[in-house]
């Protein structure tokens, strides 16, 4: 007899895709219409390519698009290279475990906060320059173009420092299943060095596992707005920033051009993915030649040192940047070339403490609800996969990544119109639904591998002892997998806490979260306020990770075998 609700469980994967892709598809439609000249609000309905023609005539287009492509591809390649070098050179060592422990705090720092911190480190009037000023005899900061450089180098740096932790996390999730220790031992027995052995026997099997996260990083780097506004060039800016400028221009006619540019942005993302795929094929071909040549590798030490240095530098940049923001948040007047403020003051916190703590309850409710929905759907999908053998095809996995790959700017404005049309906007449930779109992929990706790696023989034993499939799920599998479930929930909460555009557009300004409040307060650009809001955001995103670490330790304090499970 099928258990009650089995039909529902069987439909879980379909329901999940609907919840996630429905809004993306609807939002894209809402963007495509104005791009092709149909804009009901202004009574404009002249289908055609006029908007694309106007876009093509914009003098900055080529540079802007090239900049997006260049910084996106550059940041992704660099972040991936650093990640691979760190893993190849140091996986399994003590230095690596230290790095591993620092990961979740690094992941909790919002992108914009990391960018602000980095900006204050490397600016000509920043901390590094201030440290050098007495030696170099600078009374004024040198007039050199470090931030907002035309090639987007500082933008690339800002993206790399935040993407390395993410790629490392994804790599760490995938590595255990590959049993790299054994393969590496074999390779080393054959005379390969540590790094060349790893690149030869582990990387080729690892890369397919982290390919989709890499694509997500690429799409994100290409369409990022906040980091690009802080670190990127602005004459002209990368395309995504320009889309936002047009979208927020008082001249309403420019909204259609913004829509056309958003379509181009989507095209750019696809082109970049295509280029990356070609690159993959090229690297694989070269790699195969290299492996076949049987080279045992040279310069192992240099590669290992480079990996560690770059990894430590990118971690240090985030941590030092955060320190700088913390000092700014309590700074009195702080001019160049002082290393520290002339006086300290708690005024920024007193002024903004209230504004930041008021939306805390809403932030928590939305994050918990969105994560609960995402977690329930994910677990239902995974359980359906287990019970009915509904294995997701590669294509289904792609769909899962779609909300991360389609630039937000390309579908959120359309989604807003749709939500208003349906009378669904401006309240908490609508915001929660919008958050689920972005939370779900992360929760699924964090949980899927540990869930599948569970030894099903535990289930067989439980069945033999008389437990039904639900009993196995609730009383054996879920408790045993408590830690990865909580980690996935923490990732989900952190993603929800960080959402700005979805909250703003779907919430209509009536649903305020810590992030919308922080962005509005920080829009004034005062470093003190930016420091305080960035720290508050980091704390809010870090809290769930801390809970995820603490709860299993408490719950299993008398079950030692589960504590490391």
């Amino acid at each position: 007899m099928p258990a009650p609700g089995a039909g529902l469980l069987r439909r879980a994967p379909l329901l999940t895709l609907l919840v996630m892709l429905g809004p993306v598809a609807a939002g894209l439609a809402g963007t495509l219409l104005p791009a092709f000249g149909i804009m009901p609000a202004t009574g404009e309905a002249m289908p055609g390519l006029d908007q694309f023609r106007a876009l093509a005539e914009w003098p900055g287009l080529a540079r802007s698009a090239a900049l997006s492509l260049g910084t996106g591809l550059g940041a992704t390649a660099l972040a991936l290279a650093i990640t691979v070098l760190i893993c190849a050179g140091w996986h399994g060592t003590r230095a690596f475990r230290v790095l591993e422990r620092g990961l979740s705090p690094l992941l909790s720092v919002p992108h914009a906060a990391a960018a602000f911190g980095l900006a204050f480190l490397i600016a000509p009037s920043g901390w590094i320059a201030r440290a050098l000023a007495p030696l170099a005899g600078w009374e004024r900061p040198p007039d050199v173009l470090i931030l907002q450089d035309p090639l987007g180098l500082s933008l690339i740096a800002g993206l790399v420092v935040k993407e390395v932790p993410f790629l490392l996390l994804m790599t760490l999730a995938a590595l255990p299943l590959l049993r790299p220790g054994q393969s590496l031992a074999t390779a080393q027995a054959l005379g390969y060095g540590r790094v060349s052995g790893w690149l030869t026997v582990v990387l080729p099997r690892l890369y397919p596992q982290i390919r989709l996260p890499v694509y997500a990083v690429l799409a994100f780097s290409l369409s990022v707005v906040d980091v690009a506004m802080i670190l990127g060039p602005n004459t002209p800016p990368p395309l995504a920033v320009q889309v936002l400028r047009w979208m927020s221009d008082p001249d309403i006619a420019l909204r259609s051009r913004a829509a056309a540019a958003a379509v181009l942005q989507l095209g750019l993302a696809l082109a970049a993915l295509g280029l990356w795929r070609l690159g993959e094929i090229g690297v694989a071909w070269l790699g195969r030649r290299w492996i076949e040549a049987g080279s045992r590798g040279h310069g192992e030490g240099v590669l290992r040192a480079a990996g560690l240095t770059l990894g430590a530098l990118s971690g240090a940049a985030v941590v030092l940047g955060l320190c700088a923001l913390a000092v700014w948040s309590v700074a009195g007047f702080w001019g160049f070339p002082d290393m520290l403020p002339q006086a300290l003051s708690g005024r920024t916190w007193m002024r903004h403490g209230m504004a930041l703590s008021d939306p805390l309850a809403d932030t928590a409710v939305i994050a918990l609800a969105a994560t609960a929905v995402a977690l329930a759907l994910t677990l239902a999908c995974l359980e359906a996969e287990h019970r009915f053998g509904l294995h997701p095809s590669a294509r289904a996995l792609w769909l899962l990544y779609l909300p991360l790959i389609v630039p937000q700017i390309a579908f959120l404005p359309g989604l807003q119109t749709l939500a208003i049309l349906g009378g669904l906007d401006g309240n908490r449930p609508a915001v929660i639904a919008a958050h689920v779109v972005f939370v779900l992929p992360y929760v699924f990706l964090s949980l899927a591998d540990p869930w599948r790696a569970w030894d099903t023989r535990h289930g067989a034993v439980a069945r033999a002892l008389g437990a039904g499939p639900s009993g196995v799920f609730w009383r054996v599998r879920l408790p045993m997998l408590l830690r990865p479930v909580l980690t996935a929930a923490a990732v989900g909460c952190a993603v929800s806490v960080g959402q700005f555009l979805p909250t703003l557009l779907v919430g209509g300004g009536r649903v305020q979260t810590l992030t919308t409040e922080a962005v509005a307060l920080a829009s004034g650009g005062d470093r003190r306020v930016i420091g305080a809001t960035a720290l508050a955001q980091t704390a809010a995103a870090f809290l769930p990770f801390a809970v995820a670490l603490a709860v299993p330790a408490l719950a299993w304090r008398n079950r030692r075998g589960l504590r490391h499970g």
């Binding site: 804009m39 009901p40 609000a41 202004t42 009574g43 309905a45 002249m46 003098p59 900055g60 540079r63 802007s64 600016a123 009037s125 004024r140 900061p141 007039d143 173009l145 931030l147 450089d149 035309p150 506004m229 060039p233 602005n234 004459t235 002209p236 979208m247 927020s248 221009d249 008082p250 001249d251 309403i252 909204r255 007047f333 702080w334 001019g335 160049f336 070339p337 005024r347 002024r351 404005p413 807003q416 749709l418 208003i420 009378g423 906007d425 703003l504 300004g509 009536r510 305020q512 962005v519 509005a520 307060l521 920080a522 829009s523 004034g524 650009g525 005062d526 470093r527 003190r528 306020v529």
Partner: protein, 403 residues
């Protein structure tokens, strides 16, 4: 097709009007009755401590005196509100909109007015309108020369004011040509926020006014003027200015606050803001050293008014009007113009106020960083908004996308 839609919209509007029963500001008691218990979502830029503090105070007053709750929806850009109302109109949401009141002026107002996104006219029927003198102060009824026609209500006067650090630069340049001469001697020590940032565009307009041979052309739409002749001196000037700017003009700060930060970081020597009290506020906030002083250009600087407007589909129109009226009260205006609170200029005509209210304004004390009204000099009127759009576009084509 376009005609058909327009006709359909008109027909719809005609049938919809009687049913809506919007509150009538002429019947103020009815407005007050309706407003009691309403929540007004006031969308206003949230990037300034002093402004947020003043809006909090207004909310507390509205609650206590009129039973109106004010929720300050902090925007990072006023265009977010314009987009919102536009999206609601797109979706046919003609009542119960998310925004009740919005802080607005210039291009944003022109755009909303042109697209019929506003409720009104209401401003001139507000009880406290009696304290204003639009004859004397044309900026109250002409927002960047666009007639307000009662679709928005003024609440503060702003003026372009430059600032410098007297410890580093005792005698600042006081005209556009003097600024250029000084900058050629001190390359890299001045910049402006990148247009289309509001303050950057204001700098372009100020330069145009100081340099153009034909001031009168600026008060009419740009399409009616000999644009090339009117703006030629501006572009000559900019061509000489740009290579001497901070970072050789290859990068620009994003907004006014970044400019203050550059001043504090000793990267530039002259900055400017659109509030006569900005330098004093920044000093009080620890953002600038106490040696910073304000100055203006000879011949005057641009000034304009800030307004509040009510979207056509606002949910709490009566409450929004009560707040707009409260903003025009002598108490609120005196508080707003107090340099310790905010320091924005009042929109009221002091000679129209009762005796004791006037005394409150006259008792205001200014710090050393703020100029007196006499030192501030004349306020120049804003050009027609079409000039701003065209200048932004041209500037971007010439300097904003250059390698």
């Amino acid at each position: 097709m376009r005609r058909l839609i327009a006709a359909a919209t008109a027909a719809l509007a005609a049938t919809a009007l009687p049913a809506l029963a919007d509150p009538d500001p002429a019947d103020w008691d009815a407005v007050l009755d309706e407003a009691r218990g309403q929540t007004v979502y006031w969308n206003a830029w949230g990037g300034s401590d002093v402004v947020n503090g003043f809006i909090d105070w207004v909310g507390a007053e509205a609650e206590e005196r009129f039973g109106v709750t004010v929720e300050h929806v902090k925007l990072s850009d006023t265009a977010e509100a314009v987009t919102r109302v536009l999206s609601e109109k797109t979706a046919g949401k003609d009542e119960g909109g998310a925004i009740d009141l919005v802080w607005i002026n210039g291009e944003n107002f022109a755009a909303m007015k042109e697209s019929d996104l506003l409720f009104g006219p209401y401003a001139e029927a507000l009880p406290n309108w009696q304290y204003l003198d639009p004859q004397e102060n044309a900026a109250l009824t002409a927002d960047f020369t666009v007639p307000t026609e009662g679709m928005e209500s003024p609440w503060g006067m702003a003026q372009l004011v430059f600032y410098h650090d007297s410890a580093r630069l005792p005698e600042p340049p006081r005209s556009m040509p003097a600024l250029l001469d000084w900058l050629e001697e001190n390359p890299g020590r001045f910049t402006f926020p990148q247009p289309p940032d509001f303050l950057g565009a204001t700098f372009l307009k100020q330069a145009l006014i100081e340099l153009t041979p034909d001031m009168d052309a600026l008060s009419r739409p740009v399409s009616e003027a000999d644009y090339d002749r009117v703006t030629a001196p501006l572009w000559d000037y900019m061509d000489r200015l740009a290579p001497n700017l901070w970072r050789q003009g290859r990068a620009y700060p994003q907004n006014a606050t970044r400019l203050i930060q550059l001043m504090a970081d000793n990267e530039i020597d002259v900055g400017f803001e659109f509030n006569p009290n900005a330098a004093a506020n920044a000093i009080a906030n620890n953002q600038l050293p106490g040696t910073v002083r304000s100055h203006v250009h000879e011949g005057g600087t641009l000034g304009n008014a800030s307004f509040v407007a009510i979207p056509f589909n606002a949910n709490a129109m009566a409450g929004a009007m009560v707040v707009a009226n409260l903003l025009l009260s002598p108490e609120a205006q005196a508080r707003m113009s107090d340099p310790d609170v905010w320091g924005l200029g009042t929109v009221l005509a002091l000679d129209k106020l009762p005796e004791e209210a006037r005394a409150e304004f006259e008792a205001v004390e200014r710090g050393p960083a703020t100029l007196s009204p006499e030192e501030l000099g004349p306020t120049l009127p804003e050009p027609h908004p079409s000039w701003m759009e065209r200048l932004e576009e041209d500037w971007t084509a010439r300097y904003g996308v250059a390698p």
